[in-house]
């Protein structure tokens, strides 16, 4: 058994950096495309609705691990040279956009119909109607679920290890192999995840309670 000292801890922190970076990339990429998915999913055009519904079903119905595999090796098979970063960024973006798109679709539909009617009666066009009236309200409605998904995404980044990322979980695995102290190492790794995720979950449920109160 080896000691767990400064070096080991530093190594874990480097892993944590990747975990956070991956989650941020997935959340931002997924957020941008997720809005698009949600808007198409709620559009008047049936083709757009059907296609996005299919997209959501595929990415919600398959494991993230498999999605990472397919993007990482699939893109290479198509003859493109991609580094792991780009492949993983694409995979997380696709994955997150499907989930966020579906969450936000629900929120957009939860905004009372009278809001759209009032905006229409005032002559507001689609862009203003969405940007100024519907989306701000939908975003508020979606906050608890969005935060919940962010927590899932942070934990899901551990799967990026499969294509060679030494993120937090993978870093823990390596340290554990070096020191033969799996319980201690993964205890620390788990605590780090918890320190990041718990405040988010707490904020999410707090928001939910506040909104339930406001709705009464």
């Amino acid at each position: 058994m080896g000691p767990i000292g400064e070096n080991e801890f530093f190594f874990l922190m480097q892993g944590l950096r990747w975990t956070v970076l991956l989650a941020i990339v997935g959340f931002i990429g997924g957020g941008i495309f997720g809005i698009l998915i949600a808007l198409l999913r709620t559009s008047k055009t049936k083709v757009a609705r059907t296609i996005t519904a299919g997209y959501i079903s595929v990415f919600q119905g398959t494991p993230l691990l498999m999605q990472l595999f397919v993007v990482y090796y699939g893109v290479a098979l198509l003859g493109f040279e991609v580094n792991a970063w780009i492949a993983v960024a694409i995979a997380f973006t696709l994955h997150a956009s499907a989930f966020l798109g579906e969450i936000w679709r629900g929120s957009i539909e939860a905004v009372p119909k009278g809001q759209t009617e009032a905006a229409n009666a005032l002559g507001l066009h689609y862009v203003s109607r969405m940007k100024d009236v519907i989306l701000p309200q939908a975003l508020k409605i979606s906050m608890p679920a969005t935060i919940g998904f962010l927590v899932q995404l942070i934990k899901g980044t551990s799967l990026a290890a499969i294509v060679g990322f030494i993120e937090l979980t993978r870093a823990g695995y390596i340290i554990s192999n070096q020191t033969y102290r799996p319980l201690l190492v993964f205890g620390i790794v788990g605590a780090i995840y918890f320190i990041i995720c718990w405040p988010l979950s707490y904020a999410g449920s707090g928001l939910e309670k506040r909104m339930a109160k406001a709705a009464r």
């Binding site: 009278g114 100024d132 009236v133 309200q137």
Partner: protein
């Protein structure tokens, strides 16, 4: 009657309008013309199509057949015609439908800025003018949820007025209000009528109809059953259904 609008040009005309919801015939061959400055009260039992009728005028509902013309612009389903008509037609809803995430002032400035391209300063000046007119300027910085129902509805009226419409449609504007708040909204509407606004109001407030309306139109089962000046309408309704309806409504009040 506040004024005689007989010599005024026609602002809205509906010709043989047909509206279906699936197999339900909601509007049966409705023809109606409204002159500039006219105030019309639409009444009738629930499900008679009166709300549907005014919602067709600003294209919140589509029609299956017939013709709707507002200020010379025919509603042909094109975005251009819908835009043109919505610029001239303001609407007030039963449930106010104010934007809850915006202040009263922002509620009023949004459409002029986005639709008419009014500058922020001008839009605010306009908003303050109309908020003053509905006597609620002191609440301009508040959010809708902080206001009473009557205040919210007055803000909704001001919001519609900020687009400086030629016609105002009211869809049961006092039905969702507590009784003590009905008057403040009706007074606002009476004020508007006095200033010469063309108005079509779906309402069961018969006192308002008596005081303001040039014509009262009674609808049932998607048809215009009877229309007359308020004097005639209330004193000597011709149709049996009108009599029954009036009996119920007036007994209720």
């Amino acid at each position: 009657m506040l004024n005689s609008a007989n010599d005024q040009p026609t602002l809205i005309s509906l010709e043989d309008v047909q509206k279906w919801y699936g197999a339900f015939h909601a509007l049966k061959s409705i023809s109606l013309s409204v002159r500039k400055g006219e105030k019309i009260v639409l009444c009738g039992p629930s499900g008679s199509g009166k709300s549907t009728l005014i919602r067709c005028i600003n294209a919140l509902e589509t029609i299956e057949d017939g013709k709707i013309v507002v200020e010379g612009q025919a509603l042909d389903g094109s975005t251009k015609s819908v835009d043109a008509i919505r610029r001239e037609v303001g609407m007030v809803f039963q449930s106010f439908n104010l934007f809850p995430h915006m202040t009263v002032l922002q509620n009023c400035t949004l459409a002029p800025m986005r639709v008419r391209g009014t500058s922020h300063t001008d839009a605010e000046r306009l908003a303050r003018k109309y908020l003053e007119r509905v006597r609620i300027l002191d609440q301009a910085e508040k959010y809708p949820a902080q206001l009473s129902g009557g205040q919210q509805q007055r803000v909704a009226i001001a919001r519609a007025l900020c687009m400086e419409p030629k016609v105002m449609l009211f869809d049961e504007p006092t039905s969702a209000l507590d009784p003590e708040m009905v008057k403040e909204v009706l007074d606002t509407m009476i004020g508007l009528a006095r200033d010469g606004m063309t108005m079509i109001c779906v309402t069961h407030e018969m006192g308002f109809a008596r005081q303001v309306a040039d014509r009262v139109i009674f609808m049932a089962s998607g048809e215009i059953v009877e229309e007359a000046e308020p004097e005639v309408f209330f004193k000597s309704p011709k149709h049996e259904r009108t009599k029954t309806f009036l009996g119920e409504i007036l007994a209720h009040h």
